[in-house]
Symmetry: C2
Subunit: 490 residues, 2 copies
């Protein structure tokens, strides 16, 4: 065995154990008995210890030093593996284990606090998670910025300054568009009672149409929709509000975008460092293009209008144009995941600034609720009514995901670039969408983006899919202007 | 930290990882997408490698050599840990890993073969599993008998000669009782259509009455009912045949017996070598006493008769005595898990002899089907009609459980001894059972047996619970004679 072959075997076993950890996370959020929480935290910590030991194994370092890549795939594997090893060897085993233990407990504390609107109950957990992640970021950064270091876990190659500059450019156009829209007459919303069973039946149908392979996945209910796993076991969750079927249907499409990315990666990359999405931003580009550029297009909503009438009977909206307006209705609201395409990125900007301040130490966790509420009112023009609609709405911080939120906005940017390239390549795309046929679109995305996994870095992946054009925010902003000008006649 | 404290920490982390492996097994048999099978096998093998490395870690051996127990609990922990270490260090890592990989794949092959009655499709898997387990048994036995060595995994302290002698004593009385029963008029069977939802609702109610804690467990459907996990996450599965509600209800009670044993172990023993049932025989004594001595008693079936009428409406059986006879109906049949109390142990004896021969090398896997069919006809008086009713009916051999079957019969023996002691201690037990109140019985079992986990060896556990009387088969055989003499008027 060459050093490269030994390295591949080492990485493969670690990847398999990583899948096990992901499966435990899925279990915890879907089927685990509530009373198992403390024991599960200990199980996760034990597994995290094993993973950390493997990921920081001096023998792995030696193999990485000696390995020679036989081809371009091998070079990509070495690139990813070396970056991970450098990152991981900077984090003490004690800290990695403690993070796993605390975040497992913290997530349940967050769920309970959210249900009771009890910020104080969650505060001690948030303080611990922030302190641990800051310590981790500082250990990785080695004198650099802790938040920038944490961002590398989700979007290697970017930093807070870059993202901040993009957000500065985006904000005025988004705010201007939002204000023009809110100054126009509001289209009617979809209303009625939409039984859970029927919503889930339609969600399964949509998942199939968008290419989700149920032989290698499943859909369950959870508090917060997510996708987990890679290779041949990629599971998604959704949630149901019986008064708002778009919540279930579009979060399902969103997670299907994530999940099909994982399912469509070349089997050759399974259980290698290339066998998962290259970054959270590119991941989000897939979930967003499924959800927005495809799922909320006029062409596809025309088909969905008929499908919903077939499933739920007559709706309170009686034509496809009005239905399209209802799907894309720009509305006041508190919840990021229920936001419209125009205001969504404003939610991200709020979180980005607050979490930078938390990790940077300029905002104490005890002051977070007030900071959230003040900032929300400044950005959206109305106050938060309850913590579950404000600072407690997202799972992310409870499980230590600091530096993750900006990837949602990057994903929106990438998705708009990909949509432009896809529509150039598929001039009759809308005719297929209007017939509920997603095949051409999902095939194009599978070939252009998904199959490659982490073969190329994030921006290179998007650039290559877009015929050599590097991504920027103009496609997103131009697309939003066009789309909402048509819907709102502004 | 003393060597004993270091040892406890080492064992605790291994136990936590062992729980993870158990959870993966549960996942595979309940919710895993079918297409994930190959990847899951690799995940299980990776985790098995980790566990094997920890269980054979020279540092563990050193700690075991140096540790001094501070008390009786510590002594028991050392006893269990030293036995496990000796066993595990005799099995090469390569073999342990291969066993995990092959049995994960083999189980799915068995499921498919059983569905298609295709013995030939399963044969290559059986051959691999037998060869690997024989190799393992030989490695553990170090010149002794491989099958005896495998039995120690399930019932430490016994061997095939002891069990064979017990079976030789039991067989004539069981056959004589069976023949007298089958010579008497057969009571009517319960008939009708019993919808799955209602069966599962009643199964949940029964589980609660028998003390199963749903805050630390859950019930799902699976091909083969089982219980998995320990401590605060103990899950069970059941199955439903809409023509035969006793299948679901009594296999639920059976698994509840296993699960409450795990749930009721002292929390002080959680994630230690004492934190699970001491042996499969004692485990089976709990499942069997829940299912048979309690669940199939005249007193409890009187209550169940009313509960089933309430759930399913009028039955084809109109009085509680006849219902009790239907529950305990001795009937011809092929399936062990659907067998009655009289013939059940004959099924075990068949498997015991065949698996001894497989591991001993005197029976080739290719000849197993014929051997099964010949032996079945000799023991039961009629031929097997299809492999799914014969050699393919049980999951055990597909996952490498050789040496496990005899523990079912030992469990029946222990259960009868415990029932005798419990009825001495609780003279008004039947009045409670007749009211559907299992509290006194399950409390007695929790205190006498379950709370102790693996504190004392198997036979000592039963002996202590039975006021110093060592277990033998007479309580079981006498009990069966009494019970069936009453039902069949023989």
């Amino acid at each position: 065995m060459t050093a490269y072959e030994d390295l591949r075997a080492h990485l493969r076993q670690t990847a398999a154990l990583g899948e096990v950890a992901g499966r435990l996370g899925w279990d915890q959020q879907t089927v685990m008995p509530r009373g198992a929480n403390d024991q599960r935290a200990e199980e996760m910590a034990a597994l995290e210890d094993v993973l950390h030991a493997r990921r920081t194994d001096p023998e792995l370092g030696d193999l990485l030093d000696r390995a020679e890549a036989p081809d371009a795939v091998g070079e990509a594997i070495l690139r990813e593996a070396r970056r991970d090893f450098t990152r991981n060897t900077r984090v003490p085993a004690r800290l990695a284990s403690e993070l796993a233990r605390v975040t497992a407990l913290s997530q349940t504390a967050w769920e309970e606090a959210r249900a009771k609107d009890d910020v104080a109950a969650f505060l001690p957990w948030l303080e611990q998670v922030v302190a641990l992640r800051r310590e981790e970021g500082q250990a990785i950064a080695q004198g650099g910025d802790a938040y920038d270091a944490l961002m590398q876990d989700y979007e290697p190659g970017t930093d807070a300054a870059q993202v901040g500059a993009i957000f500065d450019r985006m904000r005025p156009r988004l705010v201007a568009l939002r204000d023009r829209i809110l100054g126009a007459p509001t289209p009617p919303a979809l209303q009625g009672h939409f039984p859970q069973d029927a919503q889930l039946r339609l969600a399964h149908d949509l998942a199939r149409r968008f290419g989700y392979d149920f032989d290698r996945g499943r859909i369950d209910l959870a508090v917060h929709p997510f996708s987990s796993g890679s290779g041949s076991d990629v599971r998604i969750t959704t949630r149901v509000a019986e008064g708002d079927p778009f919540n279930c249907l579009y979060s399902t499409l969103h997670e299907v975008g994530h999940a099909t990315y994982e399912q469509n990666i070349s089997p050759d990359y399974a259980l290698t460092p290339l066998g998962h999405g290259v970054s959270m931003g590119v991941h989000e580009s897939q979930s967003r293009i499924y959800e927005n550029q495809l799922g909320r297009s006029r062409a596809f909503t025309g088909w969905l209008f008929g499908a919903m009438q077939a499933e739920f009977g007559a709706l309170n909206i009686d034509n496809a144009d009005a239905f399209h307006a209802a799907v894309n209705r720009v509305h006041q609201g508190y919840i990021r995941t229920e936001s419209d395409e125009v205001q969504y990125n404003l939610h991200i900007m709020l979180r980005f600034d607050l979490e930078r301040a938390l990790i940077g130490g300029t905002l104490a966790p005890a002051d977070l609720e007030e900071a959230w509420n003040t900032r929300f009112e400044a950005d959206f023009g109305y106050g938060i009514d309850r913590p579950a609609h404000g600072v407690l709405q997202d799972v992310h911080w409870s499980v230590g995901l600091f530096g993750y939120f900006p990837t949602y906005a990057l994903g929106n940017i990438y998705a708009a670039c990909l949509d432009k390239a896809m529509r150039n390549a598929l001039p009759d795309l809308d005719a297929h969408l209007a017939a509920g046929d997603l095949g051409p679109a999902t095939d194009w995305l599978a070939k252009a983006v998904q199959q490659h996994g982490a073969l190329r870095p994030s921006v290179a992946t998007i650039t290559q899919a877009c015929d050599g054009t590097a991504p920027d925010e103009t496609a997103l902003l131009d697309g939003l202007d066009r789309k909402f000008a048509a819907i709102y006649a502004i």
